[in-house]
């Protein structure tokens, strides 16, 4: 926010001063991520699961796979449902209750990154067109909010999908029968979200909670392994010049491979 009450104004001043010197409050460079770790298989009962940590930000993603009916307008496609819970464990400002604007945005941007790139191959998740398809749920549970939830949530979601196994069904006489076997979901792409904050005239990568509180605007660019962009979300109350947008795209395309390494190295 560009117009702030007194304490955030002081905080913004400090953060701007640090940035002006080329180093942030926590000592990072402007285009540097905090420590990233991804761990798979944290919830055995889920069909797939993973946790991602970026600095103190901590997100757990669980994948559940069920059988359901397709939507009327896409009878031959499986269904992807992505939702996020800003659990009140994660921050003194989160309260129990129905999803708010921020958690809806988070889920929708993660969803869009996976859906636009057709990472799941939804057409491969149809069992009987118009009748039975796989429904893939990705549930994001935020455990600690220290800024840049979006990149952590996106990492956790994709890592959980990489690990997820779907039950195999036999189709006979227009009905489906579980075989007891499972096979991996074949992920066709690994979309990686890279978020940046604009604070004053500077773009910083992987903003902290404090930086997000004083930022002018945020831009998230999701990139696949071929360097294509598969989702963009600008969020926050200020505008961006086209030059700033070009720069953000460039940073994202450059940084995504490093995050992808973390993802692929995760156990």
């Amino acid at each position: 926010m560009s117009r702030l009450s007194i304490i955030p104004k002081l905080k913004r001043r400090k953060i701007l001063d640090a940035i002006a010197s080329g180093r942030r409050m926590d000592g990072r460079g402007l285009e540097e991520y905090r420590e990233i770790s991804v761990r798979r298989g944290v919830v055995e009962k889920a069909e797939g699961s993973a946790e991602a940590r970026i600095g103190d930000t901590w997100v757990v993603a669980g994948v559940k796979i069920e059988i359901g009916e397709p939507f009327e307008d896409t009878p031959d496609e499986g269904i992807l449902v992505c939702s996020a819970d800003f659990a009140p464990v994660a921050s003194p400002t989160f309260e129990p209750g129905p999803p708010d604007e921020a958690s809806i945005e988070l889920a929708r941007v993660v969803d869009r990154g996976i859906r636009s790139s057709d990472a799941l191959g939804l057409k491969d998740l149809c069992l009987i067109p118009g009748r039975k398809v796989y429904v893939v749920y990705i549930d994001l549970c935020i455990l600690n909010h220290a800024g840049n939830l979006l990149d952590a949530a996106s990492l956790a979601a994709v890592a959980a999908l990489m690990e997820a196994k779907k039950p195999i069904y036999e189709v006979r006489d227009g009905k489906v029968y579980p075989t007891g076997e499972v096979e991996p979901l074949k992920l066709r792409r690994l979309p990686i979200a890279v978020s940046m904050a604009k604070i004053g005239d500077v773009i910083v990568l992987d903003p902290t909670f404090d930086e997000e509180e004083v930022m002018d605007t945020r831009i998230t660019v999701t990139v696949d392994e071929e360097g294509n962009v598969c989702a963009v979300q600008k969020s926050g109350p200020q505008g961006l010049s086209v030059e700033e947008i070009w720069k953000a795209i460039e940073i994202a395309v450059n940084k995504a491979p490093k995050l992808r390494e973390k993802l692929e190295a995760a156990l």
Partner: protein, 240 residues
Amino acid sequence: MSEEKWRRVDGRAWNELRPIKIESGVLPNADGSAYIEMGRNKIIVAVYGPREMHPKHLAKPDMAVLRCRYHMSPFSTHPRRSPGPSRRDTEIGMVMRYALEPAIFLERFPRASIDVYAEVLQADGGTRCASITAAAVALVDAGIPMRDLVAACAAGKIEGHIILDLNDHEDKYGEADVPVAYMPRLNKVTLLQMDGVLSPDELRRCIELAIEGCQHIYELQREALKRKYEEVVEEVKGDE
């Protein structure tokens, strides 16, 4: 350029907007309002405010709070939509707010709220952009001091072609959709989203094309406001 020859489902050129009609001041009760048709999209936007914030604890001591609500009528789509707000509605309300906020002198109305309500009567692809375009006109119609207008439209890609202002069909079957809102005088992008897969270069071309579209829409917004002003002037003359 081959794109010059290729034609779209609805016969438009690759860089052609759908027919757009903007009217301001359509709602007697609202402080400001506008009606937009953009292709088959039909949207009414009302602005109420600046007015006392309710509930009070949401007010800010040094500026007005802009609130945007986007809602689709149950009959605006096929099949019928349930009347309650969806998660998509909530997200669009949020991006509308971010798209409009930089254009308003919010700091002139501490403790107040400015409420923008978009009601989609018919949806045909690009409702978020059309809502933002109409909302900017409605804000001016409400007499709210603005740094600039905000015009919005999307660009995207279908069958390998970069195109302007996707309709519902192109949105559904195309490769990518990039909605953009733009303040022409301040030269800032205030809405930017992207769905689909594009190379960085294609994405840039889409954004540039959408900005061109916004510049054209900006002229239509100004004409709509001028028309309204002339009507008012004529009414006043007629009264003399």
